[in-house]
Amino acid sequence: MPEPSPRSILSAAQLTKDFGGLRAVALDLEVAEGELLCLIGPNGAGKSTFFGMLTGAIRPTAGHIRFRGRDITGLDPFRITRLGISIKFQVPRVFEQLSVQQNLHLAAENRFGFAEACERAGHMLGRIGLSGHAADRAAWLSHGQKQWLDIGMAAIAEPALILLDEPTAGLSPEEAGRTAEFIRDLNRQATLIVVGHDMDFVRRIAQRVVVMHQGRLFAQGTIAEIRANGSVRDIYLGRGGRDARGC
Amino acid sequence: MIAGDTIVIVGLEILSAATILVLLALGLAVVFGMMRIINLAHGEFLTIGAFTTLAAVRFGGLPLWLGMLLAACVAGLIGIAIERLVIRHLYGRPLDVMLATWGISLILIGTITVMFGPVTNGLPYALGSFTIGRYQYSQYRIAMTVVALLMMLIVYVLFHRTRFGRQARATIGNPEMAAALGINTQRMFMLTFGLGCALAGAAGAVLSPLVGVVPTMGILYIAQAFITVIVGGPLALVGTAAAASLLGTIEALIAHFPLFHIATAGSCTPTPCVIAIGGSAFFGQIALLVFAVVLLRLLPQGLTGGSRNPY
């Protein structure tokens, strides 16, 4: 288990992505081993694109991503995952036709092999509170349960860095609360970058908050500092100039 | 050493080859390229067009051009009927559409055979010929090129200069949104499909004075049509035009000039056995297919794959 330390686990240097002339992301960012970083920003700020580049789903136009000192820019998703970065997408992506247990097992098998994956899946079922649904088809789960299953799948292979894209999207307040606990719990083993929308969820988990706007790092600091920052409020209220999508 | 008139003739051959590909592919481009529907019955709509023209001219005594117009309409109407009866139930299930359209093509072939019998028919050729140096060339082939251009113009105007076009593009781009904007998406799909079939019918009509008209003729064209559309990529018009001229050039050139020879085993008279690569219709077709595959390896989305809006 990596102890929290100032050592950087992930660094993005002049990381840029253009979509047909539009600059979606242009970012420099350092993430320290073991920290729990919250990434916020208005719609189209480029958060998901940034995640896409971290996981290899999107090829950067320019710039570099280093993971534990190794350049992973433009690697295939599966290779990046094998290096220890895993992601949960904004919309839960689970294997709907497979049972909950099978979902988790698949996620673990690649790293731990069949037998161990079974017990780890069982264990994870407990942690995400779906023990009662082990044999159910994922398609039958509620939205919140799917979110948890997806997080579980991202975490079960014990990656060093977990990316969570809006883990509370569409959850009720108390569900969000449980999710927050679970995330803090995960942070004991892994570094986390969480994209969040609703501020009090962010407040509950974040150590450091980074605000993205129009693809750039707009501001960063503790949650308190960010809340104090007037211009941040402005961009949330849409006073910060054109939105990055340019429409 | 190639003489001047030969060069001109080869040029005309290329033009003609490209024209035929455009004719074959345009309707499919509208349906496959825009609605992402694999219409395996496309060839049969060519057949329908050809037979309608035949019937109109032979039995109806109409002038050829009128017959062709009629052919387009008939094909279009049949297309719409089929869309209503079968295809509209299958949107979002591309493979099932493919299967259904295959069944439709069988039924169409059967029905046409029942109506017209299995024999080869045909219309006497229209127009005369003109002379280039040592060669004579059919005027009708030039006329075909004109018609092809005309058809493309019509498609362009329809989709870019009319209300229908805007609505259709909106629908195809994002059905839910279009519906929310109060566009009758069902109707748009229906009309787009109908248009595709009408174009196919017109193509069949235009080809009918040139080729034997048989109930099974559609099968001969379907592969070429698909290749052209796929190579063309998302842009229905530009893509088809580009792909057609590219593939047409390749086919015509390879079909006209032998590239090299390969000696093989086996006893031939006169010995030795050689296989001439190029210089025959066969290698024209092979070249077309192989080129298409290689090109798709390089540009998986086809020639116009780079562009972002698919119309």
């Binding site: - | 051959e13 055979t113 059919s138 082939r141 079909a255």
Partner: protein, 428 residues
């Protein structure tokens, strides 16, 4: 489980049988047993009623049914009625093999006629050889089949090329450009045409006889090519006196039409091996093909009493006075009749007896004239007609030759000296 229930099951058996007969995918026993009625003898026919080859298949079926009906109407063969078992091979090669096996193993037919394309014949020849069954192939084809169990009653290159070459050399000139279908019919026919053309109409050189030569390269046209543009330009480049076409199916329509469209009709003479067998002379305008010369076995313009009555009877059966009686119809009719003759001569349906009878050189008079079986090659001596397309979708018969031998097959094939052959030859 079955044992303890047998009693109960026996009761329900018959019910079960009928249901199961319906649901399981195999011929119901009832059908099999009723197949052999006392005074009936089953005979088989494999033709393409549907699919790409039905152009030839449907007239062939007309000829077959007419022949069998006529034989039965005359009281059948050896006192037995023929029970015609037809299968639609749907232009699918695998179906040919499958149905051939069915005819032999299940319907137990005494003879099978059929096959349109050479490919279909080659697909089922192995089956008939394996089961030692009798097979008749009644089509004009590229020649060379030499098989103890197979009789080819269609005319072969030796019969339709020799006289054609002589005529073309005499009237058109010696420079010939050949286009051929890019499959076996085209390739093998081309080899024969090369021989007959260069020898001025004979299978081997004859000193002092005018002989032809080729200009340009022989061109093999893939089956699915409909655009002859390039070919036509190459022909103009080569400037031949005469074009020989060894093409098949719709290619005929397309080629002559596009040739005429390029304004070349009348400028270059055309001879063809098989033009007209698809009634192309009716479908194409005189302005496209008038003057084209063929050497054919059957032409519906043959003005003989035999042919007149034949055509009447056919149109009556089909119920369409304008029905075009083409070569396909007559070929199948002749094929069945010469088999019937053989059966009567042999006094038996047995394959070996019938084969012997065929090899005794029996002859019959047909709508197209006399045909006589050739012992050595299992082909026929033919009556051939040299004819040119006239200006009213008909033929001008220029010359008629009787007892034209299958000289090409005779060159390689002798099933009397060497009976155990099941192969096809081509010229070297």
């Amino acid at each position: 489980m079955m044992r303890n229930r047998r009693g109960f099951l026996k009761l329900t058996a018959s019910a079960a049988l009928t249901t199961a007969g319906g649901i399981t995918g195999f011929p119901n026993i009832l059908r099999i047993r009723s197949a052999q009625a006392a005074n009936e003898v089953p005979v088989g026919s494999l033709l393409d009623r549907t699919g790409a080859f039905n152009i030839s298949g449907q007239p062939a079926i007309v000829g077959t049914q007419f022949a069998v009906n006529q034989i039965n109407a005359k009281g059948g063969l050896l006192g037995k009625q023929l029970k015609l078992i037809e299968y639609d091979t749907q232009s699918d090669i695998a179906k040919y093999t499958q149905y051939a096996k069915k005819l032999i193993l299940e319907d137990e037919v005494v003879v099978t006629h059929g096959g349109i394309a050479s490919a279909s014949r080659e697909a089922i020849r192995p089956v008939f050889d394996e089961y030692k069954a009798l097979y008749y192939y009644d089509n004009l084809y590229e020649g060379g089949v030499c098989d103890k169990y197979v009789f080819c009653t269609g005319q072969t290159p030796g019969q339709y090329m020799g006289r054609l070459a002589e005529y073309a050399l005499q009237h058109f000139g010696k420079k010939c450009y050949t286009i051929a279908a890019d499959y076996n019919f085209g390739h093998i026919s081309w080899k024969w045409w090369d021989i007959y053309w260069r020898n001025g109409g004979d299978i081997s050189p004859v000193p002092g006889k005018p002989h032809g030569e080729h200009v340009g390269q022989v061109e093999f046209i893939p089956l699915d090519v409909t655009d002859f543009n390039a070919t036509i330009q190459r022909i103009q480049q080569a400037k031949p006196d005469v074009i020989m076409t060894l093409i098949a199916g719709a290619a005929h329509m397309n080629f002559y039409r596009q040739l005429a469209a390029a304004g070349l009709h009348g400028k270059i003479n055309i001879v063809s091996a098989n033009f007209g067998s698809g009634n192309e002379h009716i479908l194409l305008a005189p302005s496209e093909v008038e003057g084209l010369v063929v050497c054919a076995a059957y032409l519906d313009d043959l003005d003989t009493p035999a042919n007149r009555t034949f055509k009447e009877a056919i149109t009556k059966m089909v119920g369409d006075p304008k029905y075009l009686v083409g070569e396909q119809v007559c070929q199948k009719y002749n094929g069945w009749n010469i088999w019937a003759k053989a059966v009567e001569t042999a006094g038996s349906f047995d394959r070996e007896a019938v084969t012997k009878a065929m090899e005794s050189g029996i002859a019959i008079d047909t709508p197209l004239g006399r045909i006589k079986s050739d012992a050595a090659t299992h082909h026929l001596f033919y009556t051939m007609h040299l004819a040119a397309v006239n200006d009213k979708h008909g033929w001008n018969i220029l010359q008629t030759y009787e007892d034209v031998p299958p000289s090409d097959d005779a060159k390689y094939c002798d099933l009397i000296k060497k009976p155990d052959q099941h192969t096809q030859y081509q010229p070297d």
